[in-house]
């Protein structure tokens, strides 16, 4: 039988706050074990949580970035379970009254994926198992790292929709400064709930929850595997069991982690140590006013106003710093297409070769804008513009200085050009004759000779015009 997958996502994102969500410990990735812990985040008796309002603001921003309703009233609850990496034996989360609800993101094909809720919660620590010594050790550095959990409705029907959604969410959260969304580092963790149903049916099957998916590719492969696995069970007349499964990227398969029966009863109840969170209308306006332009809006501007090809626009917005640089450059010189070309080809090539990021760039958007202007004004050639980008990338410097120093300034002195053409004609009498007899192919050869004779300051356009004139 043919089946349709039904997928919903739960995405955990680490918030880019300076400190943890309920204490003042630094919120940072990595570091030596248990160096970023305090009595609060290690759950010492008598301590109480201190809510980081910065985390609340970032959660609200996530809501705005994903088209949610942000609530002026939200509240924390306790999720109770025992595990050695959870020092209080409960996680503070938002269960009954999340900060954001009812969002949506439009994915490939124009379909709206509904977001049920976004809530704030704290991360747990990590256990380190030493099989050789036969001991487990707890590292609480990650305890209390602020997270948001984004929960979607089961609206996905294809892998592409899922991947597009995850990509868009990651990009929007990066734009909003909410999360750096690095799946491989775990700062964005996607859990997939998946069931299948016979084609044409509208009754959902029993779902499995897939964990440990740390790339878009892994998400795709895990979903494909699950569709296959569940289809085989149903085709054989079996029943899919509700369970949590762990994806293994090396094998490309999923293995049962725990069944529904083994699932915890989390005994949620309102967190009595933290009063409900209030956001006034004024605060919400302020947070909204801090929201930068979102990638989907930029895409629209690039394609509709700047008339960039969709592919180019997509490449530019994929990195906020890159896109910001582009915007700053076109604000100075609205040569949208040329600036885009130089950035997507020359700059990207240099970035890839040097394996560095936009934050290490040695030149400014203004430098790039000026480079492009010099080319379009005929002061330098297009090739020289490309070279200048590479030089600025490697050494910094101003394009005007580089052009002068390297002899990129194209000559507008026609006497020099005439002399060069005369010299080329004298040395290539046969070719000139051949051209005049109708062999137009030799034009390129003659042109090349003229440019060579002129050296770096050659102005190809001028040279071409003059050569054409003289050959008449």
């Amino acid at each position: 039988m043919r089946y349709v997958p039904v997928v919903g996502l739960e995405i955990h994102c680490e918030l880019l706050t300076n400190s943890k969500v309920f204490c003042t410990c630094q919120n940072e990735f990595g570091g030596s074990e248990n160096t970023r812990v305090c009595p609060r985040c290690s759950g010492m008796p008598g301590t109480l949580p201190l809510l980081n309002r910065g985390a609340v603001r970032l959660a609200a921003k996530a809501g705005y970035a994903l088209g949610c309703t942000v609530h002026g009233y939200s509240a924390f609850d306790r999720k109770n379970y025992f595990y050695p990496d959870l020092p209080k034996a409960y996680q503070i989360t938002q269960f009954d009254s999340p900060i954001c609800t009812d969002g949506h993101v439009t994915v490939t094909g124009g379909k709206d994926i509904r977001i049920n809720r976004i809530h704030i919660e704290e991360d747990a620590g990590k256990l380190v198992h030493d099989d050789y010594e036969g001991v487990s050790m707890a590292d609480y550095n990650r305890c209390g790292v602020p997270l948001i959990e984004i929960v979607t409705e089961p609206d996905f029907r294809t892998v592409e929709e899922v991947q597009d959604f995850v990509e868009q969410v990651a990009l929007r959260l990066k734009y909003a400064g909410v999360c750096d969304a690095r799946m491989e580092q775990g700062s964005m963790r996607v859990d997939v709930n998946i069931s299948i149903m016979p084609e044409g049916s509208d009754t959902f099957g029993t779902r499995a929850e897939l964990k440990n998916l740390n790339s878009l590719k892994a998400i795709g492969r895990a979903i494909e595997y699950e569709i296959q696995r569940q289809s085989e069970i149903l085709d054989a007349g079996g029943e899919v069991v509700q369970e949590t499964r762990r994806y293994n990227d090396n094998h490309g398969d999923t293995k049962a982690l725990r069944s529904k029966e083994e699932a915890h009863d989390y005994r949620y109840f309102p967190e009595p140590d933290i009063p409900p969170v209030r956001l006034t209308d004024g605060e919400m306006d302020e947070i909204r006013s801090e929201m930068p332009e979102m990638p989907q809006e930029r895409f629209k501007r690039y394609t509709e106003v700047y008339k960039l090809p969709a592919e180019d626009a997509g490449l530019i917005i994929a990195d906020k710093a890159f896109s910001d640089f582009y915007d700053a450059a076109v604000a100075i010189n609205p040569d949208y297409k040329q600036i885009s070309n130089l950035m997507l080809v020359e700059l990207n090539r240099n970035l890839n070769e040097a394996e560095t990021g936009m934050e290490d760039l040695k030149f400014t958007p203004e430098d790039l804008a000026n480079t492009v202007k010099m080319a379009s004004d005929g002061v330098i050639s297009k090739n020289a513009a490309k070279e200048i980008v590479s030089i600025m990338f490697a050494e910094g410097g101003k394009p005007e200085d580089i052009a002068k120093k390297r002899g990129f300034i194209m000559s507008s002195d026609t006497s020099e050009l005439d002399a060069a053409i005369d010299k080329v004609f004298a040395e290539n009498v046969d070719s000139v004759e051949s051209y005049k007899n109708g062999n137009e192919k030799v034009f390129g050869f003659l042109m090349g000779q003229v440019i060579r004779a002129l050296g770096k300051g050659a102005n190809p356009k001028l040279a071409k015009d003059a050569l054409t004139e003289k050959l008449k």
Binding site: P45, F82, Y90
Partner: protein, 478 residues
Amino acid sequence: MSLADIRKKLDRKEISAVELTEEYLRKIEETDGKINSYITVCADTAIEDAKRAQEAIDEGRGGAFTGLPVSVKDNICTDGVKTTCASRMLEDFVPPYDATAVTKLKGAGAVILGKTNMDEFAMGGSSQTSYFGGVKNPYDTTRVTGGSSGGAAASVAAGLCAAALGSDTGGSVRQPAAFCGVTGLKPTYGAVSRWGLIAFASSLDQIGVVAESAEDAGYILNGIYGFDENDATSSKLATGGYTEKVGAYVSNIRIGVPKEFFADGIDDEVKTAVLKAVDYYKSLGCEITDVSLPSLEYAVSAYYLISSAEAASNLSRFDGIKYGYRSGLGEDYSDLIKNSRREGFGNEVKRRIMLGNYALCSGYYDAYYKNATRIRTQIRREYADIFEKCDVILTPTAPTTAYKIGEQENDPVKMYLADIYTVTVNIAGLPAISTTCGYDKNGMPIGMSLIGRAFDEKTIILVCDRFEKDFERKEAVL
């Protein structure tokens, strides 16, 4: 001796802070063996604190608390001093921080004499569930002190400290104060920071004071109240100046007497003594109003559901992983946690944890926890109605006086029901003070309580002080 009198003696240098502390330490040494009110006595640090206090007095830097020797209940964290919650689980736990209330007292120059005994994790009304042995009543050492702040109350009654910090979740300051013939003040929820108070039931817990008088209780509250960034539930509405009104007229005070507090289950002797106190206020010209708190009959159930649910969660952190007792038995972390908790907690604590988890389980949550919170809302509303027509409410503190040790141990339900007159105050977050209003035929103290509007501790202290000035207390003789 009142705190004000001690203050005078210290300031006039009739006694030095060191001499005073030594006197208390000597008395503890001599008599605490009979009542077991302290778990830890901080003899050395207390003398050092006293020396520093004396220096401050000598240099004219002394304040209201400089050199005052106080005791602290053993569920209130003290930096560098064991804080056990009277449990095997925390037998050797030494916190690296002070509770805010302790920080304030220490900062003001008070001397911490030691940590007082209590019911394990403040769960109980007898102070008999302590891992370190029960507390005995200074009026009759065969009887209980009440609880859970039994050590605090006994230490004040036996003169083993000038005043004591306790904690009150459902009556744990007021009821032992009543049983031990002293004064117990439970401030409004949020008036005193809970930072450093090892949580039993977070939405009900409040640090309180046991003292010789209402004025003394207000004196200590003046030193510990106030908003604290470290406790998000602490309030800016607490204003201080708690003894300001003492000595003012009370004839304009309207006193409500809720009939439900004098119905079935109350000892005749208690009822008679409390009603006599009502008559006393009437004789002063106070307007006495019959009022009603119809939800009282559900209060004990609601209290035990909410407090046990929160306790089950709060006490989950004691898992033998990070600090506290760790069992040597078991193969994996799950065994380690189970066995540590099985061996580290006493029976009453386990009973509450089971009750609380049961109330929170999916499928029971609505019937138990949710309904309990509805009753909480209802009780608050009923109190608000009462305070429309009166300024304070007068009730008995407990249905009985201190009973014999061992008498109620095997009947938890009977013990829970004995909390009926105190729990509504915590449920509604109100302030209340208990003082002695009589003695029964065995010479055991009878307590009455005055309940006030939220953050109006001043009025109940005033009204209580007026009664205390005209009432002759009997000293406990050990």
